[in-house]
């Protein structure tokens, strides 16, 4: 019998059972499948049981007593999907986000997500909204979607089962590639790019990897149900993946002060989330926050124009002025070209 068919037969049998079903009975019911030597039959059933558990099938073994015999039983109250009573608005949020992620080309746990969407839509009938939200995620350049998507799927499985991965990684900062074994702790999405965070055995420390830069990836398949590592208590993805260029951990933290005026003053909170903001006059705001990559901040401040000034400290101002002078030198008018201001 086909394995899928056998497991579905088991589901039908167990869902219908009022009494526990013993191993001996199961062997009688499926003589062709669980026949043969005891060892082989038990191994086969153990594999089927593991698959049922993986499917979320609430199977348990009950020890019999005077009134009941030993055997396998399923808790029907736990098996069936109940109505979540999601409001129209809640359903729209989950459905729009889930569909957008699924259509994005690269989101970890795509299969899981697709099943989840079907299930939350089960009771919704025809009232499911048509999502008009689209996201392009996770790829360095066009045409990489399939590869990134496949990597994310492998990483999702490895993260959830706590299995190490072997990866071939190509960083733009260095020529060539490196081979590393990594304990994957999690995946973070920042500005459309997926980052893997994990313990790198090569560097003996926590490292981040852009998923689109992973050339090859293998998940440890040995003892699939036994975890290879534990994620340290208190680990947070957020603490390791930068949202903004000035948060890359290249240097020791330096507290920087900016002065924002005009339209930028009202946007200070969203431009520099987490910064301490202080009004210093009519329409003027001072923002103070730690910076670990000064060049990243200098570039951003330059792009904000005259409404954003670097106040201090002096080394930050000097860095910005040096960068500005460099850009100006590169963009000096070329002789013979007339430019209107």
């Amino acid at each position: 019998m086909d394995r899928t068919e056998r497991i579905l037969d088991l589901v039908a049998l167990l869902l219908d059972a009022r009494e526990p079903i013993s191993w001996a009975e199961l062997r009688e019911h499926f003589p062709a499948d669980y026949g043969g030597s005891d060892d082989a039959a038990e191994r086969k059933f153990e594999r089927d049981k593991a698959e049922l558990v993986e499917l979320g099938f609430p199977l348990s073994y009950v020890q019999g007593d005077d009134e009941r015999r030993d055997g396998y039983l399923v808790d029907r109250n736990v098996y069936y999907l109940p109505e979540a009573d999601l409001t129209k608005e809640e359903l729209a949020v989950l459905y729009a986000a889930g569909s957008a992620a699924l259509a994005s080309g690269a989101f970890p746990g795509r299969d899981d997500l697709a099943h989840a969407l079907r299930k939350i839509g089960f009771f919704a009938g025809e009232s499911l909204p048509t999502p008009r939200v689209r996201m392009e995620l996770g790829t360095g350049q066009e045409g990489q979607e399939k590869e990134v998507s496949a990597r994310l799927e492998q990483l999702w499985d490895a993260c959830s089962a706590h299995k190490w991965v072997q990866l071939t990684y190509g960083s733009p900062r260095k020529d060539g590639v490196t081979e590393r074994r990594v304990d994957p702790y999690g995946l973070a999405l920042r500005r459309g790019v997926w980052t893997l965070v994990g313990y790198c055995h090569l560097r003996q420390g926590l490292r981040t990897f852009h998923v689109h830069r992973i050339r090859e990836l293998k998940v440890n398949t040995a003892r699939p149900r036994t975890p290879d590592f534990e994620v340290p208590a208190g680990f947070s993805l957020d603490a390791h993946v930068a949202y903004f260029p000035w948060q890359y951990r290249f240097h020791e933290p330096l507290e920087v002060t900016l002065q924002l005026t005009g339209p930028q003053a009202s946007r200070a909170g969203s431009l520099f989330p987490g910064a301490a903001l202080e009004p210093v006059g009519e329409g003027v705001v001072r923002a103070r926050f730690p910076v670990t990559f000064l060049d990243g901040l200098a570039r951003f401040v330059l792009s904000l124009g005259s409404d954003c000034r670097m106040e201090g400290p002096p080394e930050a101002r000097e860095r910005l002025e040096h960068m500005a002078a460099n850009i100006l030198a590169k963009h000096a008018p070329v002789e013979g070209q007339r430019v209107s201001a």
Partner: protein, 309 residues
């Protein structure tokens, strides 16, 4: 995940789905399961062999296709799908984070309800897996009202700041929201310009949803903004130093032309001066606009403005 696992999940959903939607067409069912018609018919064949011992005629699932519609007479207790697994709930919750904070209270209450329908034994695993994805994109608050306006087909108004000019009032039929490289865009028909337009959400001010309804075209789909695409006479030539070259090559692929000194050169569309200057400045001193001279001057002007010189 193994093929057997995927197939089982699909089949455990298929029977209840047909049970709930008797007479669903083969096409609609295949679409709901995201499989081909041929694969669906194969699955239906398999299901007719499924049942419970002792396998009397009434013990089999009775599912059949009649006149291209699917019916189930005996579902063998598969009348509802299984609950969400920890992995399914975690993937959905992580995806929902993509629209935070724009979705407000609805997201939080949806997630609470979601957790409520996971089997208690799976909740800890759900929380553990949910923590493994951090997809909290910086969804701008405008996303919430715009999603509503798109779903309810209502026109919106907002002020839109073009580069170097103050905000100008626009009235727009919103068709689709698009996120690309962390930037959110609205695609729609602009009454003010009488044309289809792509608007960056971070340049909108005073967004309001009106009560004016409209009918969207069926095929409205925003083009992904690609600065290297459509490079025409107005294109801008930018040269990058060897330091920045690997990053530029990574993004532009074949569109980045290698130079003798190890740097690269790209041509990008020059229709947005503000985008161009911001982009060039984001490379610090590692990028130089070669031509046209007006674009070089725009970069220099932006730097002068920034340092107040």
């Amino acid at each position: 995940m193994s093929n057997v696992h995927e197939r089982l999940r699909r089949l455990l959903f298929l029977v209840p789905y047909v049970s709930k939607h008797p007479g669903v067409t083969v096409e609609a069912l295949a679409k709901a399961l995201n499989i081909s018609r041929e694969d669906l018919l194969e699955e239906l064949d398999l299901l007719t062999c499924v049942g419970r011992p002792p396998f009397n005629p009434d013990d089999y699932i009775d599912i059949y296709v009649d006149n291209d519609r699917v019916y189930v007479d005996l579902d063998q207790r598969l009348f509802a799908p299984p609950r969400l697994t920890a992995g399914e709930a975690a993937a959905l919750a992580a995806a929902a984070e993509l629209l935070r904070p724009a979705t407000g209270d609805a997201l939080q209450s949806a997630l609470t309800k979601l957790e409520g329908i996971i089997p208690p034994a799976a909740r800890e695993r759900f929380r553990d897996m949910y923590r493994k994805i951090d997809a909290s994109a910086d969804a701008p608050p405008a996303l919430g009202p715009l999603t509503r306006a798109i779903l309810e087909r209502l026109e919106v108004t907002f002020g839109y700041a073009s580069p170097g000019r103050p905000a100008e009032p626009r009235r727009v039929r919103p068709y689709e929201l698009l996120s690309h490289r962390g930037q959110w865009y609205l695609q729609g028909f602009c009454h003010t310009r009488q044309d289809a337009r792509l608007f960056r959400l971070d340049r909108m001010e005073d967004l309001a949803v009106t009560t004016t309804a409209f009918l969207p075209p069926p095929d409205a789909r925003a083009d992904v903004p690609n600065p290297a695409r459509g490079a025409s006479e107005a294109s801008v030539r930018v040269r990058f130093t060897p330091t920045a070259a690997p990053y530029v090559k990574e993004r532009f692929g074949q569109d980045a032309r290698p130079l003798a000194d190890g740097g690269v050169e790209v041509r990008v569309a020059g229709d947005s001066e503000r985008w161009l200057t911001q982009w060039v400045l984001s490379f610090g001193g590692e990028a130089e606009v070669l031509e046209p001279a007006s674009a070089r001057a725009a970069v220099a002007r932006a730097v002068h403005a920034s340092i107040g010189s």
